[in-house]
């Protein structure tokens, strides 16, 4: 029993998860690169979807790692070490999921319509939306996220062996510089990989929406992962009620913040009522030809009631935040809601046809939903394999962090 709880027993299993990842991502690659392109590039979108889902969660984890450093959060050290184990997955997920789609010209033209568009809207934005700059930016995202993750791990892991408290100050400095850099990088990643899928539409709040989604996903992954590690892994006897409480409070705060940002984006566009902005919401509510509510309407309603209202009400209660099974249940709901939010943002698009309005919108319920989930499972297994493999390089908690005893004895 005690043997299976040891870090080495856990991290020895990384090849198993790497194999699962290889099979799942390989299948998704097969559909992405060896099936004919449609106008909505739905098979290719599965690869982008799975990668962006985990990129989002890992960006949230990167931000939480730096923010808890900056605020010197006393509760954080034992949890932050797990975040540090996850960080190397972020550039790899973008490299495996986004870069191949962007580098293949015909797939690039289908997924990112603007790369083959010639209308005035694209002409006016071409100083930013041009293919060489786009590809260069994706490389830039990989380098920035990879570099920040490396620096945050490197000094933290070194502290385990050389017991130098000064590394904590180095990490403060890295985080202080890293937060604005990562904030801009994640904003442009969201613009390039998601908002630009519909290049006529624009929202200045899109980057903040992506940030709030990222933090919500990061917290839900953290709650589920630390619960697993405390019941079956190396955090047994360390993670306590107060850690769950603080994570629960953050989940509540970012549930409200996500709703605030998502609603504000909707509200500003609704109020201004300009067709070049409102179409983006229209295709997520109504069938353009019949004017009836489409499948996406029900997805939208789930976002309002299932991804905001239900977690919000549940998280108001103190006991939801401290009872392990309840907070894991809410974290799972938020994890699922994140999947839906990404579907809702990435998938709907106009498909041109001969109807009187000239287009229809692709449906939500299509067989490729299964491929999307396979992609999420594949990239999830990859992230977990990298987590386990990185865990071999350091202590499972930062034993010489100046705040380690405060974190172990954290109290509400």
């Amino acid at each position: 029993m005690s043997d299976s709880r040891s870090p080495s027993a856990w991290s020895a299993r990384w090849p198993l998860f790497a194999a699962i990842a290889a099979v799942c991502i390989g299948t998704v690659y097969g559909f992405a690169f060896f099936t004919p392109l449609t106008e909505d590039a739905r098979n290719q979108m599965s690869l982008l979807y799975g990668a962006m889902f985990w990129a989002s969660a890992l960006i949230g984890i990167l931000m939480l790692t730096m923010i808890t450093r900056l605020f010197d959060a006393g509760w954080a050290p034992i949890i932050r070490r797990s975040w540090e184990f996850l960080l190397p997955a972020l550039p790899i997920v973008i490299l495996l999921g986004v870069a191949p789609l962007a580098l293949n010209p015909s797939i690039r033209h289908a997924v990112w319509e603007w790369t083959s568009a010639t209308d005035h809207a694209i002409h006016a934005k071409s100083w930013f939306l041009n293919e060489p700059f786009f590809l260069g930016r994706i490389g830039f995202y990989v380098i920035v996220f990879g570099g920040l993750g490396w620096a945050l791990r490197h000094w933290s892991f070194r502290q385990d062996s050389d017991r130098t408290a000064g590394h904590t100050h180095t990490l403060h400095a890295i985080s202080a510089a890293g937060v604005p850099v990562a904030a801009l990088t994640l904003t442009f990643l969201a613009f390039d990989c998601l908002m630009a899928l519909s290049y006529h539409w624009f929202s200045t709040m899109y980057g903040v929406w992506f940030f709030t989604l990222s933090i919500r996903l990061a917290l839900s992954v953290t709650v589920i992962l630390t619960h697993l590690l405390s019941t079956r892994g190396w955090l047994g006897g360390m993670l306590n009620q107060a850690h769950r409480h603080v994570l629960g409070c953050l989940m509540l705060a970012f549930t409200v913040f996500w709703a605030y940002i998502s609603f504000s984006q909707y509200f500003i566009i609704y109020n201004a009522n300009i067709p070049e902005e409102t179409f983006w919401y229209n295709i997520r509510e109504i069938d353009a030809v019949t004017g009836e509510k489409s499948q996406w309407w029900w997805v939208s309603m789930f976002m309002v009631f299932g991804f905001f209202l239900l977690p919000f009400i549940l998280l108001l209660f103190y006991r939801t935040k401290i009872v392990a099974s309840r907070i894991v249940a809410v974290a799972s709901l938020i994890f699922f809601g994140g999947l839906v939010d990404l579907w809702w943002n990435a998938i709907p698009r106009k498909i041109h046809d001969h109807s009187e309005v000239g287009f229809h919108v692709n449906d939500f319920l299509v067989p490729q939903l299964g491929l999307d989930l396979l992609s999420v499972v594949g990239f999830g297994a990859l992230v977990f394999a990298i987590f386990l493999r990185t865990a071999r390089n350091a202590e499972c908690i930062p034993i010489h962090d100046p705040r380690i005893s405060e974190s172990l004895e954290y109290h509400e």
């Binding site: 609603f263 509200f267 609704y270 109020n271 103190y318 004895e409 109290h411």
Partner: protein
């Protein structure tokens, strides 16, 4: 042990008693004393320390604060008030179309609704704590106890209040506190 004759222990005639206080010298002592007072079934008593002691809530058997419920009630009241305000002004009393939006829906006045929710929830919290803390209060009987000033420095004080049904008479409270290892046992006059 029960020699109270040399101390200021007995209430004088016509005098109201707030409770009996005693001091402890360390966190561990007061922590265990609190657990034993809790286990003896006391309800009206309190602990005064120079700094917060982690785990003291549980050692004293304190329940969660009722104030979050007042906050929630305030929030719901605020949301309903916001709905009524926007519906009454824009749809009922003086129906007005603004920006091609409906007279009333839950969307266009949402900023008003959530601002009202937050405002009333804050009122609920603020006035809730006023009521539950019995504020405003300009004086407290403990301010007349000379040892009490050391609570802001190095003393840990327990006060058993006379309003607790277990209090009985001061002598019983004295003996109980003495059995817990309390020192400087003093009568607190109201």
């Amino acid at each position: 042990m029960n020699d109270h004759s040399s101390q200021d222990t007995q209430p004088r005639r016509e005098e109201r008693v707030f409770g009996v206080a005693c001091s402890f010298r360390s966190v561990a002592e007061i922590f265990h004393a609190a657990e034993r007072i809790r286990d003896a079934g006391w309800k009206k008593w309190d602990v005064y320390t120079p700094f917060p002691i982690h785990g003291m809530d549980a050692a004293m058997g304190l329940p969660r604060s009722p104030i979050p419920r007042v906050t929630l009630l305030g929030g719901i009241t605020g949301f309903v008030t916001g709905c009524l305000l926007t519906w009454y002004t824009n749809s009922f009393d003086y129906p007005l179309i603004v920006g091609a939006k409906p007279y009333w829906s839950v969307i266009y006045p949402f900023p008003v609704l959530y601002e009202c929710t937050i405002l009333f929830a804050a009122f609920g919290t603020f006035f809730g704590q006023f009521i539950f803390n019995r504020l405003p209060r300009h004086h407290h009987p403990l301010f007349d106890v000379p040892q009490f000033v050391r609570v802001s420095d190095d003393a840990f004080m327990v006060v058993l209040e006379v309003s607790d049904p277990r209090f009985g008479n001061p002598d019983k409270a004295y003996d109980f506190l003495a059995s817990l290892g309390g020192q400087d046992i003093t009568l607190v006059r109201d």
